[in-house]
């Protein structure tokens, strides 16, 4: 067989099976770094072997077997350092188990995700860790998406993997009593990956755009592995709703189009329908449990916005109620800002502004652009042009996206154009 075909097949299997193979190898040993090394050796071996002998019937199982042998070899060499005996025992048990399972590689990705998002792993590194172990992203790619230096990201990933092994973090779906909090950490990590990608609306940075797609892919994975968890479905619905409006955020000239001015016809109806179906299913399950989680509520907000495509109007009273419910479970200033925006629609700009004022003490908002943009918009509507200009300046100074910056600058200029500017 030509070498190129072997390479292509190996790469295809790598893309499809990377996370599954890492999870399978690491779940037995808790050693993610060793699993990565072993798998990378196995891929290298595949290139030579498959070119010479043809592609095996089950490429995934072939890679798993070679990688497993590498893991055992490594463990033997390490015998002096750490206790190798339990490690070898684990792998030996697994060998027997695997033979019984007729060469099918079990899917332990969910267990790997729970290990990566364990509360003893630093919260900020959970999403990068999942991207690396499940999707095979290298540290440099992750670093550029999260705006961290590659060296720093590399070190933090290494430290996290070491902690999984040394602290004995289990590869297991947590017990019911703890499941909600733990699942929330997994979902938060996936959402963080998605949000990093979604925050590049221009789609000019391929790496970040991919991140949004990968976030959805991970969301689908968790929703398929835990179909009875309403929050897993809620997160997927939330991401699909957001994704449905991705391209609507820019017009043909590349200018920013705020949600209220987007043409619903430019939204992706297929994604919206999928999101709605998920949310309905989640709602039915949540109804049985008697509690609705954060992601379902956030998806419900998106759903209310998406309804404009059918009704032509936005039900702000409903949106206000959902944010009210969200605020009771998250206590997040971001949610509070959004609620204030909804109040401005239901009770007038002055009421919304009064609501925003109650948040002004929160120091986190000093560098939060949406707070200043919301404030500026409401001040403009209540005729406080001078204060609105100042708020727009803060928002403009905090914005990294040139299209949004331009949009804010235009809004600021309109303050004077309307003749309502400060005297």
């Amino acid at each position: 067989m030509p070498r190129e075909d072997a390479r292509e097949t190996a790469e295809a299997v790598a893309r499809r099976s990377y996370g599954k193979l890492i999870a399978y190898l690491a779940a037995r040993t808790r050693d993610v770094a060793a699993a990565e090394d072993a798998l990378s050796d196995a891929f290298a071996a595949a290139l030579g072997d498959w070119a010479a002998h043809g592609i095996p019937d089950r490429p995934e199982a072939w890679l798993a077997a070679v990688a497993r042998r590498r893991l055992i070899d490594t463990a033997r060499r390490r015998r002096r350092g750490e206790a190798a005996a339990p490690y070898l025992q684990l792998i030996a048990d697994e060998l027997a188990e695997l033979a019984a399972a007729a060469n099918a590689v079990p899917d332990d990705r969910l267990l790997l995700m729970f290990a990566c998002a364990h509360p003893s792993i630093e919260a900020a590194i959970r999403a990068p860790l999942i991207l690396q172990t499940i999707l095979g992203f290298d540290a440099a790619t992750i670093a550029s998406a999260f705006l961290v230096s590659p060296a720093t990201m590399g070190q933090r990933l290494v430290r996290a993997k070491s902690k999984i092994r040394q602290a004995g973090i289990p590869f297991r779906v947590p017990e019911r009593a703890e499941l909600n909090a733990r699942l929330d950490a997994v979902l938060a990590a996936i959402y963080a990956a998605f949000a990093e990608g979604w925050s590049d609306p221009a789609g000019t940075e391929t790496r970040r755009r991919n991140l949004a797609e990968e976030g959805i892919w991970l969301g689908r994975l968790v929703a398929s592995l835990m179909p009875e968890e309403p929050e897993a479905l809620g997160l997927l619905a939330l991401m699909l709703h957001a994704e449905a409006r991705r391209s609507a955020r820019r017009n043909a000239a590349g200018d920013y189009v705020p949600l209220a001015e987007q043409d619903p016809a430019s939204w992706d109806a297929r994604l919206i329908e999928e999101a709605e179906a998920l949310l309905t299913r989640a709602g039915r399950m949540a109804g049985e449990i008697g509690s609705v989680g954060r992601y379902q509520l956030e998806a419900a907000v998106q759903s209310a916005h998406a309804a404009r495509r059918l009704t032509g109007t936005t039900d702000w009273a409903a949106i206000e109620r959902i944010y009210e419910a969200l605020l009771t479970i998250t206590d997040s200033p971001v949610v509070a800002i959004n609620r204030a925006i909804a109040i401005a629609e239901t009770h007038g700009a002055a009421a919304g502004l009064a609501n925003l004022d109650t948040l002004a003490q929160d120091a986190r908002l000093d560098e939060y652009q949406p707070y200043w943009a919301a404030r500026a918009g409401l001040l403009a509507r209540t005729g406080e042009s001078e204060a609105a200009e100042a708020a727009y300046d803060r928002a403009i100074g905090l914005e990294a996206d040139p299209a949004v910056r331009r949009f804010l600058q235009e809004r600021r200029a309109e303050l004077r154009g309307d003749g309502t500017g400060s005297a």
């Binding site: 750490e82 003893s120 602290a167 973090i169 289990p170 703890e178």
Partner: protein
């Protein structure tokens, strides 16, 4: 895996506690120790005398320095430990949460470095 559950608590608050409170606490620790023992995971446990009884030693440039008191003057001090042998971190964490110290101080969970 072996884990050390390090108990940190406020010594001043402990000393200021009433007799009834102290008795209640001692009983709670007694029950916890029994539970850990019955579970067959106890690898060692001790309560430590207060940090006022501590002495700190350091050798710098060949000279030993002996200081009265604990290593760090903090509100919460190391007051004792349980060494347990359980399958993984989650099991260690759930035992740490049951330790009375988790409610009146903090329990630091550290895996033992196996040599």
């Amino acid at each position: 895996m072996k884990y050390m559950l390090l108990i940190y608590s406020n010594e001043a608050a402990g000393q200021a506690a009433s007799k009834a409170q102290t008795d209640q606490m001692i009983a709670a620790y007694g029950a916890y120790t029994e539970a850990v023992t019955k579970a067959g995971i106890l690898a060692g446990s001790n309560r430590l005398r207060p940090s006022t009884d501590a002495t700190t030693v350091r050798v710098a440039n060949g000279k030993s320095q002996v200081l009265d008191g604990p290593y760090a003057e903090t509100k919460e001090q190391l007051g004792g430990y349980y060494m347990i042998d359980v399958p993984d971190l989650d099991a260690a964490l759930s035992w740490a949460a049951r330790c009375p110290a988790a409610s009146h101080g903090v329990v630091e969970v550290r895996p033992v470095w196996t040599m």
